[in-house]
Point group: C2
Chain length 226, copies 2
DNA sequence: AGCAGGACATTGGACGTCCCACGTCCTACG
DNA sequence: CGTAGGACGTGGGACGTCCAATGTCCTGCT
C-alpha cells in the first residue's frame, strides 16, 4: 500500500529542506512554488505545511512566508498533555507516570551536576526559591538553571516540556491543592545539599521533592471541569 | 492579538473531544458536522484535523471517519529526528545529547528494576541478545522488555522513541560502522549483572554500553547523503 | 436458508478559483 | 531628508466540484 498521501507530501517537504540544506530561520519556497515542485494542489500543500508546523518543523508567518522551524520540544506539549488526559479514564495513573519520568531524569541529572555549581549559580538558585512562593515560573526557571551547566540542550527542553505539561494538568486536578510552602522547602533543601557538595543528599532531596509531587497526584481523583 | 486562527480551531476540536468525553478509538463528528459546529470552511477544518493527526491526537481513516487517537509518543519521532538533524550543522553534538538522554534515563531505570526480574524474564532477555547480532529490532525489544516490569507505559514509549530516532539517524552517519559484536557483548554484560542481582554493576554495565554508543557518534563527522 | 456479489450511501481526499489579511518595501509627497 | 501611503507578494480562508476508499445492505444465485 502507498502510505497516506498527506504524510508523503510532508516527507517530501522535509526532504526538500534537507536537500537544500536549509537551516532554521531560512525561508521555504512559497506555496505556489511548492504546488509546482510537488505537483499538488494548494489545499494539499497547505495541509502538509500545517501538519509540519504542528511538529515545529516549519514556522508560518502570515504575509511573510514559510520558514524552517527549530522543532523545539515544547510544540509537542499539546500531544503529551492530550495523551495523559486521554489515558486517564477516571484515575490519575498517566499523570503519575509523567511525574515518575521527571523524577527519573532529574534524580539522575542532579547527581551529574552536584559539586560543579559555582557559588554565584547557587545564589541565583536561592533567589529563584525565594520568588517561587509568589511566581510559579520561578519553579520552571529553577530546574532549567539547575541543569544548564550540564550543557545538554535536549535534556533541558525535555525537562521544561514535562514541567509545562505537568503544571498545565495539575491546575485542573480535583480537588485543587496549594502546598507551595512544601514545594519551596523541598527546593531549598536541594540547594542546601548542592552547596554542601553532597551528591547523595542532593539526589535524596530531589527524590523527596518528587515523592511529594506523586503524593499530591495520588490524592486527586479526577479532572476538574474545563 | 488573537493567536493564530488555525491553532484555535485545533484547540476547539480538542476541547470538543474532552467535552464529549470521547476516548481513543471513538469517532469524531464528520467533516461537514465540524464545519457546522466550528463555523469554518471545510479547508480550515481539514487543516486543523491534519495538524492534530500529526500530533497523534486524531486518526483519520479514508472512507470511514475521523477517530480519537492515542497520542502515542512515536508520532513525535519526525519532529525529534528533524530537530537533531537541523541542529547539527557539521558536527554531531545534538546526536550526542540524544544518546546522553537515553543514558540518563536507562541508567536510572535499570537501578529500579535490578533485583526484580524473574529468571524467565532474564532468559527472555538472553534470547533477545542472541538474536541481536542478526536482527536489529531485538535491540529495541531488549530495552522494552527490560523495563516492562516497571509498569510505566510513558517511560517505555519514551525509550522506544529515542531508540527509534537514534537508530534512524545512526544509519546515515558518515562513516558507517558495524560494531554489532561489541553491542551484543554490552547487552550480555547487562543481563549477567541483573542475574547476579547487583544493581551497581547493572548500572555500570548500562553506562558502559552508552559510553560505547557516544564514542561511535563522536567518531562520525557528518551525515551521509540521503 | 445461506452466502456471495454488487449497488449504494457515507466519509475523507483532492483540485481550482476567488477574495481577504498581513508584511515588506519602495515610492512620492511634504 | 523623513515619513506616509500604496504596490506587491505572501499566507489565510471560503466555496464548489469531483474523486476514492470504506462499510453496509440488498439482491440474486445456489
Amino acid at each position: 500500500m502507498t502510505r497516506r498521501n498527506g504524510v508523503i507530501l510532508q516527507q517530501r517537504i522535509v526532504a526538500l529542506i534537507h536537500d537544500r540544506q536549509l537551516t532554521p530561520g531560512e525561508a521555504l519556497p512559497t506555496e505556489p512554488m511548492l504546488m509546482d515542485l510537488l505537483g499538488a494542489s494548494r489545499n494539499s500543500v497547505r495541509e502538509a505545511i500545517q501538519a509540519l508546523q504542528a511538529l515545529g518543523i516549519v514556522e508560518i508567518r502570515h504575509g511573510h512566508g514559510t520558514f524552517v522551524g527549530s522543532a523545539s520540544l515544547d510544540v509537542l506539549s499539546p500531544s503529551l498533555a492530550f495523551r495523559v488526559r486521554s489515558r486517564t479514564p477516571s484515575g490519575i495513573g498517566a499523570l503519575h507516570d509523567l511525574v515518575e519520568v521527571r523524577e527519573l531524569i532529574e534524580v539522575g541529572l542532579i547527581g551529574q551536576v552536584a559539586g560543579t555549581l559555582s557559588e554565584a549559580r547557587l545564589a541565583a538558585l536561592d533567589a529563584l526559591v525565594a520568588r517561587m512562593a509568589t511566581d510559579l515560573s520561578a519553579d520552571r526557571a529553577f530546574h532549567a538553571l539547575l541543569y544548564e551547566s550540564f550543557g545538554n540542550e535536549l535534556v533541558l527542553q525535555l525537562i521544561a516540556l514535562f514541567w509545562n505539561v505537568y503544571h498545565d494538568l495539575e491546575a485542573s486536578l480535583d480537588p485543587p491543592e496549594d502546598r507551595i510552602a512544601d514545594v519551596v522547602a523541598n527546593h531549598q533543601r536541594i540547594v542546601d545539599a548542592l552547596r554542601g557538595g553532597d551528591a547523595t543528599e542532593a539526589r535524596a532531596a530531589m527524590r523527596a521533592h518528587f515523592t511529594d509531587v506523586k503524593e499530591r497526584v495520588a490524592r486527586a481523583h479526577t479532572w476538574a471541569a474545563r
